[in-house]
Symmetry: C2
Subunit: 354 residues, 2 copies
């Protein structure tokens, strides 16, 4: 199995390294062979070849079975114009690999419950939400521009969805809900947006093919409230690119431990891109302080979704849980009485606990 | 001073009634004269005349000094098509009165701190955020439509901002920040949207005219997280119509007491529209159970922003505080040991405490 590796910027390289350590331990234990090929993206690519997403990178990724990404961006490249920003690489690779479904689990590890800023009684049994965010449509990729008008300028962006785009991501959400608590909440703004009205119609139609999954619709403003009021009402949240950007981060922060949260971006086939939710954290880069768990959990998602290795994925997740149980923490998740370890040691502990 | 009154649907009429009781007590105590004229909007207007916003309503509002609104909408009118929905009345009146600046305070009353789902230590001294949401532009009012394409349909909405539109709402935010903690956080998605890039440029330029106010910029996804992680970092949040819809509701829910939160929608002149943040709650309508405080606090904002009666506004807010201090609560905010009262009694208690 071929894995394209994009270490990226800031803490990206060091967290990716530990995910590879864990993947190699999985290979050994379960008798698989993973082949890793490093490629450039983001700031690292800008520095080396002047563009955030070199053609070569896209080519290697397209020939791989999965892509493992650290993080991109940093203040060094913040003043570049739009198409040269590290983020442009991220948008480019999503579109280039046609990764239209972004899976963002927001789950509280029982050992880290106290990190949430929500009261314990609100978290209840522990939060376990999966946001399925459409990733290649909406206002991100529609026509945009700027024009001079009397007295200044105007600027616009177009939010667009087609039946097909909504259908395919809806199927992803309903299928995944079947392996969970069988509930999909579709979030839109159908009382205002025409693209949301199409979204709601298509999701309702697709939902009829999954009579065993409960479907409800919610406006985005209400969803932003309900996540805070009573997050445990949600199982799978299915939503657009723009609303998903906001709600997946809101849900993530409810856990209080961004350093723990993985993500997967999937397309029609098996090829997927896996990356931690956190950013490149340039302030702590290269200091062996970063938490590699989000990237290691992303590697577990890779095992599950791109390679179909459910048992191996579970083994990685269990190893993480065991290491937390043993009291080990990186600095970002440390609490009194726990044992603080660095990036490398955390990676090795998880590999050992497989 | 002429006040157009839109009782609206559900609990709208009963909460508006108590706000009028309080306004009349203010008139008596401070020697003012308020003239109230009732008009139709939302479901009530649909039932009576077949449109959610009759011309007559807009005409009366335009000739008034302020508009007091209860709430609109309910399941009865949910199946109507877009332009006939009660919400269309809301969008129509905002545009018709040119109310481009929506003020949404999210403030925790010390007496109700425990209602928040956030931990006490996160709330700290108590949350006090003001969201200034642009209200007549963005994806709400740009070109939208639907077309047949091979294999289905596509639907689109256009997010548009002009220099002028951003300037005028930015001035509102900076001016209000001067009467608060002098900090404006402008929220956009400038790493993806052209309309956000214009937004950021214009806000930065306007900000230079307010050197005594600190300005920072934040992406909307990060803002959704930061509100949960550390809400007390915010003073005034200035943002677009769509992002403001989401973030103002998220911030509101952080307080845990939606039934307490007012809003004001302002334009260039003194005319403003004042309404509670909560909806029409048809399930408890007509039962003397609704909390009138949000509407009464909205009336206080009316005194302040449309009539320039700061002292009177403060008197209403103090009266609310005193009644809470005395232990009186409507059912939605009741806790053990407090005295539960109905809508009418709450209104009269506040009027008495002026
Ligand atoms: C960096 C940015 C373009 C990106 C997005 O908005 O999609 C990020 O916020 C994310 O969610 O992955
Ligand atoms: C009802 C709806 C059109 C409205 C909006 O989105 O503006 C509401 O959510 C609000 O925030 O006042």
């Amino acid at each position: 199995m071929k894995i394209a590796v994009i270490p990226g910027d800031g803490i990206g390289p060091e967290v990716v390294k530990q995910a590879i350590v864990v993947l190699e331990a999985v290979a050994q234990k379960f008798g698989h062979r993973f082949e890793f090929q490093e490629v450039l993206m983001g700031g690292a690519a800008l520095d080396a070849v002047g563009v955030p997403l070199p053609d070569e990178t896209l080519k290697v990724c397209l020939k791989s079975d999965a892509v493992l990404l650290g993080a991109v961006g940093g203040p060094k490249w913040d003043d570049l114009s739009g198409h040269l920003r590290p983020e442009a690489g991220l948008l480019g690779i999503r579109k280039g690999l046609n990764l239209f479904a972004n899976l963002r689990p927001a789950k509280v590890f029982p050992q880290l419950k106290s990190a949430s800023t929500l009261k314990e009684e609100v978290l209840g049994e522990g939060l376990d939400i999966l946001v399925v965010r459409e990733l290649t449509g909406d206002v991100y990729f529609g026509d945009k521009g700027r024009a001079e008008i009397p007295g200044g300028q105007k600027a616009w962006d177009t939010a667009v969805y087609s039946t097909h785009e909504v259908e395919r991501v809806a199927h992803v959400a309903f299928k995944i809900a079947r392996g969970r608590r069988r509930k999909v909440t579709s979030v839109d703004k159908a009382n205002v947006l025409e693209s949301s009205r199409l979204w709601r119609e298509v999701v309702s139609r697709v939902g009829q093919q999954y009579p065993d999954v409960e479907l409800n619709h919610m406006y985005v403003d209400n969803a932003a409230m309900q996540l805070i009021r009573n997050p445990s009402q949600f199982d799978v949240i299915l939503t657009t690119n723009m609303f998903g950007d906001i709600l997946s981060d809101e849900a993530a922060m409810l856990t209080g431990s961004l350093g723990m949260l993985p993500s997967a971006s999937l397309g029609e086939g098996k090829l997927g891109l896996y990356e931690p939710v956190h950013g490149s954290a340039p302030d702590i880069a290269g200091q062996d302080k970063a938490n590699p768990i989000a990237t290691i959990m992303s590697a577990a998602m890779m095992l599950r979704y791109s390679f179909g290795l459910e048992q191996e994925a579970q083994a990685v997740e269990d190893a993480v849980s065991r290491v937390l149980e043993q009291g080990y923490r990186t600095a970002d998740i440390a609490t009194p009485g726990t044992i603080v370890v660095g990036t490398r040691e955390m990676g090795h502990l998880i590999a050992q606990n497989l």
